[in-house]
């Protein structure tokens, strides 16, 4: 498992490399241009994230220093223990459906405290990778077509998030 998981990234990179190497020259150039354009976009995303990160990491650092995070983790510990969720990731779970940049900030802060390769770090990673900002998506998509009665969209989306969290922690426990 560990071996296979380590192979995914090199394989993707090798596939892209082979694509550029074996394509005809003008196509190869096109691929490289696409890479440059995408890389520029990616950097812009990272730079655009910075101001929000400053505010959020500042607030999260205060939250931790005040002892509130510890309190929250201790309060949630019995429930989390029963469900097999590491209590450190509770703040991330609360913020994940609401805001993408805030959950990135919380994940960055979590990875600085516990290693990304620890149990909690892996759980947080899998949850972050397989869930999305549900509330934001619901708001934007329905606003675009002018719908107010969203019926069971929100409860269903939150239930999917709960499934995602439980599944992610179980998978991490099984696979590593």
């Amino acid at each position: 498992m560990k071996f296979a998981a380590g192979l995914v990234v090199p394989l993707i990179l090798a596939a892209v490399g082979a694509l550029m190497l074996f394509a005809r020259r003008e196509k190869s150039e096109k691929y490289f241009d696409a890479f440059i354009a995408g890389a520029r976009d990616g950097m812009q995303t990272a730079v655009k994230l910075l101001p929000a990160l400053v505010a959020l990491l500042c607030a999260v650092a205060m939250f931790n220093a005040s002892g509130a995070a510890e309190l929250l983790a201790r309060l949630a510990a019995p429930v989390c223990g029963a469900l097999g969720i590491p209590p450190e990731i509770i703040p991330l779970l609360v913020v994940r459906p609401v805001s993408g940049s805030a959950s990135s900030a919380l994940a960055a802060e979590l990875f600085s405290r516990v290693s990304p390769d620890s149990f909690a770090g892996r759980c947080a990673s899998v949850i972050l990778g397989s869930s999305d900002t549900a509330l934001y998506i619901i708001a934007v998509y329905f606003a675009a077509v002018g719908i107010k009665k969203t019926r069971h969209t929100l409860p269903a989306a939150l239930a999917v998030m709960a499934v995602c969290v439980l599944l992610a922690c179980t998978l991490v426990r099984w696979l590593y």
Binding site: V8, M43, L53, V95
Partner: protein, 225 residues
């Protein structure tokens, strides 16, 4: 929304710190947090650039079309009404594949186009009652379950934090997101089906004709327009 999160975090920490007597630690922590934002986003820069670049190359090489060929039959099955009315499936497929390749900037407008097509399919429901149709609910819930094949920000965050193997979570992420997508479809569709069944057996709505007539009528409308 970010403003609210910031406010809640600040207020809770102020209250909590005054109870635990850690008030003087707050200022230092705030400054340190702000400084760490810079290190984090510097670490993100390279990794985000690399992964976004690679995904764009895959897109240019036709990965979008290949993925669409795979996902379209499944989506036809998930959105039978859009398939029957021959409107919306291509938009939904485009939105889903853009999400799978993590082309965030492209995905949102495509998803909105899909929503508009679905709204057009359920014109009476949407325009008259301002209510989402079953397939709109399914599409939105499916979109909230992330379909991203290569979660670039996550890989970048793990790289920036010095993970020994940032990509090791990809396989569990794929398993988890596909199972989440499956449960999203089920959780969106089952309440709709139950609601339809209850509506038919308990109280037939006064404004609608018997099911078969209704179907014929709607079908006729679509042909005329």
């Amino acid at each position: 929304m970010l403003g609210k999160i910031f406010g809640v975090l600040c207020l809770i920490s102020l209250v909590c710190a005054s109870i635990t007597g850690k008030l003087e630690a707050l200022g230092g922590a705030a400054a340190q947090g702000a400084a760490s934002a810079v290190t984090v986003s510097l670490g993100l820069l390279g990794a985000m650039a690399l992964w976004n670049g690679i995904m764009r190359v895959l897109d240019a090489a036709g990965a979008t079309r290949a993925l669409a060929a795979v996902t379209a039959p499944i989506l036809r099955f998930v959105f039978p009404d859009a398939y029957r009315k021959n409107r919306g499936i291509s938009e939904i497929t485009a939105a889903v594949t853009a999400n799978m390749l993590g082309l965030g900037n492209a995905a949102t407008p495509l998803s909105i186009a899909a929503m508009k097509a679905l709204a057009e399919n359920g014109r009476d429901e949407v325009a008259v009652r301002g209510r989402a149709t079953d397939e709109m609910v399914t599409f939105v819930v499916l979109s909230t379950a992330s379909l991203d094949l290569v979660p670039t920000t996550l890989l970048a965050l793990r790289t920036a934090a010095g993970s020994a193997n940032p990509g090791e979570i990809l396989v569990p992420v794929w398993i988890c997101s596909s199972l989440c997508a499956l449960s999203a479809v089920l959780l969106a569709k089952i309440p709709s089906a139950v609601g339809r069944w209850l509506g038919r057996t308990i109280k037939p709505p006064a404004d609608s004709s018997p099911p078969k007539m209704g179907w014929r009528k709607r079908r006729g409308d679509g042909m005329l327009s």
